[in-house]
Amino acid sequence: MINFKNVTKKFGSVSALTDVSFEIKKGEFVFITGPSGAGKSTILKLILGELAPDGGTIIVDGLDIKNLKTKDVPYFRQKIGTVFQDFKVLPERTVGENVEVALAVIGLPENEWKERINHVLKLVGLTKQINLFPSQLSGGELQRVSLARALVVNPKLLLADEPTGNLDWDTSEGVVKLFEKINEEGKTVIMATHNMDIIKKFKKRIINIVNGKIVTKD
């Protein structure tokens, strides 16, 4: 599903990633761990094509993303569900509308929206908040909106950047259990986190990264 070969990424003089190589197979559940500033988000951004590598090769779903044409980027991203560390919810739309936008983006017929939205909001526990605006929500709730939007499109690949960063333990556990469930349905899940309790509790493959270099990748 995902193959990094000697990937390097620099921000000016800062080396965010140095010679990073790993492979993630279809249907895997992987934690990318490491301290803050290690390069976890950078890896996820490279997979999504939000950033371009300075060196090395990245292959996602059989496609070398160097060969991805600008006009094909949207369709490439439509197959990927992303839970963003900074939520990236649309501030001027309600919870329901935020989720709905993802369905509109993938071009799902409008008559199927309601059922899917209700289903996914129930899954993340935001049914009551459907008509609230982001400014009316807590950090944890915003994170779950981001999650609902990522899940509603039924993506092949789920990228989650610190999805439990703003959540208490019980909710965090619930979210990761949700990921497990999705993973059992055959979806590939990649979750960046520095939450050791989560990593310990859910025994998954770990790619540990420190200072932009891979320490362990199982």
Binding site: P74, R77, I80, L90, P91, E92, A104, I106, R149
Partner: protein, 304 residues
């Protein structure tokens, strides 16, 4: 309701003053455009009227017999350069005179039918034929003298009248079209400003939509819908206001111009004319909105 439509409605609701400004300037533009279009239509009708109806009057000798008159009338009717030949008897000539002087009955009382000669009135199809036809008719035995009727503003011949009308109409048209052009440019700029502001406000939204895989078309759709809304609504409203204004003033205008068809006389014709105006204006609004929004979007992209 389509999601882009809903998004556009959301924008409009959130910034009603921008929406008002856009609608206002577009309404004004299309209001003036409709008035100018009507003016252009009416003035061209006015010209056509005078161009095609340079009435020539052949005054007949007093003792001409009916058969001679009929012969000449027939001859003129067969002439391809001539049209609308009409016989005016002495009595009719008198009643025309009496009508014309009805506000001063004394003038009407003073005259008797005998001083008004009978005449054959006709028009030439094109002014260039006028002189030749007049010379020919002058040569007819039963014709006493030949003259032009219409003499507006002291012009000595119809040709001068038409030339003068043409000049006036040309200025009216150039002025009107320039005015509409300036207003159109103002509308365009206002649309551009509003769309650019929208793009700036939406920067964060655009970034997020990009990340979740929205196509450029998806991202710009609500903005185009919004621009379309302003321009189509403005076009319709501007048209409607001027149409109502013209409907109100039409009766007096029609009376003032008498038999000159400055506006279609029948309701159906009037509605047809304004239907055409509306259709053209809606298309113009569409073009304005599309070029405006696509231009603004491409500018914003370049500046990034």
């Amino acid at each position: 309701m389509n999601i882009h439509f809903r998004t556009a409605v959301g924008y409009i609701k959130r910034s009603p003053f921008q929406a008002f400004a856009a609608t206002f300037v577009l309404t004004l533009t299309f209001f003036v455009a409709t008035l100018v279009a009507t003016l252009v239509y009416s003035s061209s009708k006015l010209i056509t009227y005078f161009e095609t109806r340079p009435q020539v009057i052949a005054f007949l000798k007093d003792d001409t017999g009916q058969t001679d008159i009929a012969d000449l009338q027939h001859k003129l009717e067969k002439d391809t350069r001539v049209k609308e030949v009409k016989y005016v008897s002495k009595e009719e000539a008198l009643s025309i005179y009496k009508n014309a002087t009805s506000d001063n009955p004394l003038l009407g009382e003073l005259v008797s039918p005998s001083i008004f000669p009978a005449s054959l009135e006709f028009s030439v199809k094109d002014l260039s034929f006028a002189q030749a036809v007049i010379d020919q008719v002058k040569g007819e035995k039963i014709v006493d003298s030949v003259g032009f009727t219409a003499a507006i503003g002291g012009e000595s011949s119809l040709k001068d009248v038409v030339t003068r009308l043409r000049t006036i109409t040309m200025y009216v048209r150039i002025g009107g079209i320039a005015f509409v052009g300036i207003l159109g440019a103002a509308s365009f700029v206002v649309l551009l400003i509003i769309i650019s502001m929208r793009m700036a406000v939406r920067r964060e939204e655009v970034e997020i939509l990009n990340l979740i895989g929205a196509t450029p078309a998806f991202i710009r759709s609500p903005i185009i819908v919004e621009a379309l809304f302003y321009s189509l609504f403005g076009a319709f409203l501007g048209w409607l206001i001027s149409f109502i204004a013209i409907l109100y003033s039409a009766p007096s205008a029609v009376t003032y111009f008498g038999e000159i068809p400055v506006l279609p006389r029948d309701t159906l014709g009037l509605f047809e004319l304004f239907g055409i105006f509306l259709a053209v204006e809606l298309v113009a609004g569409l073009v304005l909105a599309m070029t405006g929004s696509l231009f603004a979007i491409s500018r914003v992209k370049k500046s990034r």
